[in-house]
């Protein structure tokens, strides 16, 4: 009975590990999806309404589905810079900070252009993130399931 219980635990733990690995890539994908949608929204708001960044962030709040919400909220509404990204690497964090630190310092036309250029960066990373989900993420998940079954079979 104890052996069976232990096997169930090991089975769940292995699948959980695989799923966590998959979710790491999925969350990064969600982040970039969020970023590209936000940039499109911001570009429209700036060119048509010249809305301030804090108002844009407030307006977009219900649609955020990643840590981008906390990052932008801290930066433009609470005006603190204490956010730590979990899913981005150093290079990506530097690029993010570089763009958002200078966001709002130019006239509307230049801002729209800057947003469009940054959208290219975001789209490239979204494509990479999607690919990683499809390849590494799914592979990890499948391997975890297979490995979990193998372990169970071996010990039975």
């Amino acid at each position: 009975m104890i052996k069976l219980l232990l096997l169930v635990c090991v089975f769940v733990a292995i699948i959980f590990l695989g799923f966590s690995y998959y979710m790491f890539f999925k969350k990064k994908e969600n982040f970039y999806k969020d970023l590209t949608s936000f940039l499109e929204f911001a570009s429209n708001e700036i060119s048509f309404n010249k809305t301030t960044i804090s108002t844009i962030v407030e307006k977009y709040k219900p649609y955020f589905c990643s840590e981008l919400k906390t990052y932008l909220n801290n930066k433009f509404i609470n005006k603190t810079n204490n956010f730590k990204f979990v899913y981005l690497n150093e290079e990506e964090i530097v690029d993010m900070d570089e763009f958002f630190n200078k966001f709002g310092t130019c006239d509307a036309d230049t801002e729209v252009l800057k947003v469009k250029n940054f959208s290219v960066f975001a789209n490239n990373h979204l494509a990479i993130a999607k690919e990683k989900v499809a390849k590494q993420g799914m592979l990890a998940l499948k391997l975890a399931i297979a490995f979990a079954f193998i372990v169970v079979i071996i010990f039975i």
Binding site: K50, T51, T52, I53, S54, T55, F103, G104, C106
Partner: protein, 304 residues
């Protein structure tokens, strides 16, 4: 409201000055900070005000940048159209005048860069300040076409704001259209109105008087149009159009007195056509907003 606008060290000092007497804060790059308190320019010191420039707080480039960042909410593009006109209106009707290096392209002003001076003007609501001469400007249901005359900072806007408010509560059947080009009269900011102009006022902001007069008369059916700081040469047609359409116009103009006004080119046309029924002269010898005189359409003094 000043807390969100000024650098901390300036705000901590400004806190010591009663807001009802504070009318202006002047920030000039690398110069002492000057405040206008009860009509008098004095320096801002750590503990409040001083006449000694050695004790004055100094303003550096970064302080000006901080104010610009605060008024634009870190979104310079959102105020660039206003910067081009030389001022930015922010929350509560506070008007920030901007001076610096003007950037042009094909003779069109694109922006002002290297901002070196800011003039932060704080609006005041003085309920009842127009009541002294209210009966000279309103007769039953008729609101006389009135021109308020005063030099800058003598209380024109405060007077007009209160007049709109008084008109709203005393002649409640009147529809008032406020043409608030610089958002000073109503303190209109990000979709909300901060200063009280009564319950019968419709407000046009951020547009030319010509546009607001023509469209306002067509769409809002006003009985009275109230507007600030007209330019006789530029706005005369719009005013004539409103008055001849049966709408009363109450507006203000920069001039020291009636004699000063007579020197303005377009004023002879105003006088000949007897466009205005009343001329109110405000002065700020003791306090801003003091009523010096009221003249009728023939420039005969009816109140002194």
């Amino acid at each position: 409201m000043l807390k969100n606008l000024l650098p901390n060290f300036i705000y901590n000092s400004i806190k010591n000055i009663p807001l009802r007497v504070l009318t202006e804060i002047r920030l000039r790059k690398n110069k002492p900070i000057v405040v206008n308190v009860a009509g008098k320019n004095v320096f801002l010191s750590e503990n409040g005000i001083t006449e000694n420039s050695n004790l004055a707080l100094m303003c550096c480039e970064n302080d000006i940048k901080t104010v610009i960042q605060n008024i634009s909410n870190n979104s310079l593009y959102s105020i660039n159209d206003q910067i081009i006109n030389g001022y930015v209106t922010v929350f509560g009707g506070i008007r920030v005048g901007v001076a610096g290096e003007v950037v042009t392209n094909n003779n069109i002003i694109k922006t002002i860069k290297n901002i070196s001076s800011l003039n932060i003007r704080i609006p005041h609501e003085i309920k009842g300040c127009s009541l002294k001469i209210y009966d000279y400007l309103v007769n039953g249901n008729v609101v006389y076409n009135t021109l308020i005359i005063s030099p800058p900072g003598a209380g024109k806007t405060t007077f007009l704001r209160d007049f709109a408010y008084q008109l709203s509560i005393r002649n409640a059947s009147r529809n008032i259209l406020i043409v608030d080009e610089r958002q000073e009269l109503t303190g209109y900011y990000e979709n909300s109105q901060k200063l009280d102009v009564g319950n019968f006022a419709d407000v046009y902001t951020n547009c030319t008087k010509e546009f607001a007069f023509i469209n306002g008369i067509r769409s809002m059916k006003p009985d009275v149009i109230i507007t600030d700081e007209i330019n006789l040469e530029k706005d005369l047609n719009a005013i004539v159009n409103a008055i001849t359409s049966g709408v009363s116009v109450v507006c203000s103009i920069h001039a020291k007195n009636i004699e000063d006004l007579k020197n303005k080119k377009a004023f002879s046309e105003v006088l000949n056509k007897k466009l205005f029924d009343r001329y109110v002269v405000l002065e700020s010898i003791k306090n801003p907003g003091e009523i010096a005189a009221v003249y009728n359409e023939n420039l005969v003094c009816v109140y002194l």
